[in-house]
């Protein structure tokens, strides 16, 4: 096995072009588990922790793929509350100190914690190769169970987000708070100025996915210009539509029926929290 240690992004991309079989490693929280258990023996590891371009974010909210969850929570929680909430549910402090959104995207597990937020918040994934770079909307990034839109010679460079335009919420079901792979998860983003809603489910289909019908239903029901307490029937219908967007399976973490039920509950609750935040915000401004 070779251990490749690029010190610039250009060098990393050149190495990946030369060695498309090299497995990128950043926080190691997925890759090292596979190596420790001998589930994988790649011909080369491509260590990305020394590439400075991947370790920083800028005011345009282009977040380097190697920025760990702990820094997202500490440094970006005010502008990206949804992403920070999801990041807080990742593993443990030790894992959040190392694990990265880039790694979440690279592994493309349907249960990855940040995926629903990225989908609900219109994230765009920047990938690059020696041939150039391209921008892939999160909605087009997840192709199947642990499969993403990356080509063999490409690396995930950054994720682009906009500062939250309104309330955002994230919810995840697991057996305890720490060290839990989601049984299922849900994210909602409100865009009051655009009178629009983003909603996405995690760990409840072969890929994380947006709940389009639920988004459209809610956008047509919500009165963004003068927010008032929501009717229970609206919350219920939203929950039903979110649940219907999922196509979960029975597995060791939970049954498909449970996941469907839990998604509806999480959708109702997170909508309630997000909407209340909007009402409270209006009151504070009045």
């Amino acid at each position: 096995m070779d251990f490749l240690r690029p010190e610039t992004l250009a060098e990393a991309l050149a190495l990946k072009a030369e060695r498309p079989d090299a497995v990128p490693i950043a926080g190691g929280t997925d890759v090292m588990v596979e190596l420790n258990f001998d589930h994988r023996r790649p011909p080369a590891l491509l260590d990305l922790t020394r590439v400075p371009e991947l370790q920083r974010w800028d005011e345009g909210l282009r977040i380097g793929a190697g920025v760990p969850y702990a820094r997202i929570i500490a440094e970006l929680g005010d502008r990206l509350p949804g992403l920070a909430m999801a990041s807080r549910t990742v593993g443990s402090p030790q894992i959040r100190n190392r694990g990265t959104v880039g790694g979440n995207l690279g592994a493309a597990s349907p249960a990855g914690d940040t995926h629903p937020v990225l989908l609900a918040s219109d994230a765009v994934v920047e990938v690059a190769s020696a041939r150039g770079s391209r921008m892939i909307p999160a909605t087009e990034f997840y192709l199947g169970v642990k499969r993403n839109a990356l080509e063999q010679d490409e690396l995930i460079v950054a994720v682009h987000l906009k500062p939250a335009a309104g309330p955002q919420q994230f919810s995840k079901v697991g057996t305890r708070n720490a060290m839990v792979i989601a049984v299922c998860s849900f994210a909602i983003s409100l865009f009051p100025a655009e009178k629009r809603v983003g909603a996405a489910v995690g760990s409840a289909a072969p890929t994380p996915r947006r709940a389009r019908e639920a988004e459209e239903f809610l956008a047509s029901e919500l009165d963004f210009s003068s927010p008032k307490p929501l009717l229970d029937s609206v919350k219920r219908e939203f929950g039903e539509l979110v649940s219907r967007a999922a196509s979960p399976i029975d597995d060791v973490r939970g049954s498909a029926a449970y996941r469907k039920h839990a998604l509806a509950v999480m959708a109702r609750r997170t909508l309630g929290w997000a909407w209340q935040e909007l009402i409270d915000g209006e009151r504070a401004c009045a």
Binding site: M1, I25, G91, Q94, R98, M179
Partner: protein, 153 residues
């Protein structure tokens, strides 16, 4: 491959390191520092917690090559000579050690917490130690130890 790194303030060198090897293996098997424990090898238990450039991480999830030219501080590096670190002392006094396997990881995690938050609340202690499993104590004595160490600061 060869890996050069600083461990507990000393420049160290490990030879014949397999490229897929973890920092934990290097510490325990190549550098003679068995304080960090090897249990789950998947970041679930926290018993291999060490500082990497002052940030607590699971050593089992750091590739050895990633530690090249970095600074590592293990549980062996907390005491000054024969004088235990106040966190270690508090663990002994509070009865927070039973079989002892989880102790090194918990001591490092608690040490980091008190460096960042000298007077943590109970929820802050619980959150900081959420990545460290103990199967003996039921955690109560461990919480006592962290409170004791904080009170003595």
């Amino acid at each position: 491959m060869r890996v050069n790194l600083t461990v507990n303030g000393e420049q160290r060198q490990a030879d014949d390191v397999w490229e897929g090897e973890s920092l934990l293996y290097v510490l325990r098997e190549r550098l003679g520092l068995p304080g960090s424990k090897n249990a789950c090898e998947q970041g679930e238990c926290g018993s291999c917690t060490v500082y990497l450039d002052d940030v607590p991480v699971c050593a089992c999830l750091v590739a050895a090559g990633q530690a090249q030219d970095r600074e590592v501080r293990t549980v062996e590096g907390l005491a000054e000579g024969d004088r235990l670190d106040p966190v270690q002392e508090a663990f002994v006094e509070a009865g927070a050690v039973q079989c002892g396997f989880c102790t090194p990881g918990l001591v490092v995690a608690a040490h980091d917490l008190l460096e960042r938050v000298p007077q943590p609340s109970d929820p802050e202690i619980r959150e900081a130690l959420a990545g460290n499993l103990c199967r003996c104590t039921g955690y109560e004595k461990i919480l006592d130890a962290v409170r004791l160490a904080a009170a003595r600061r």
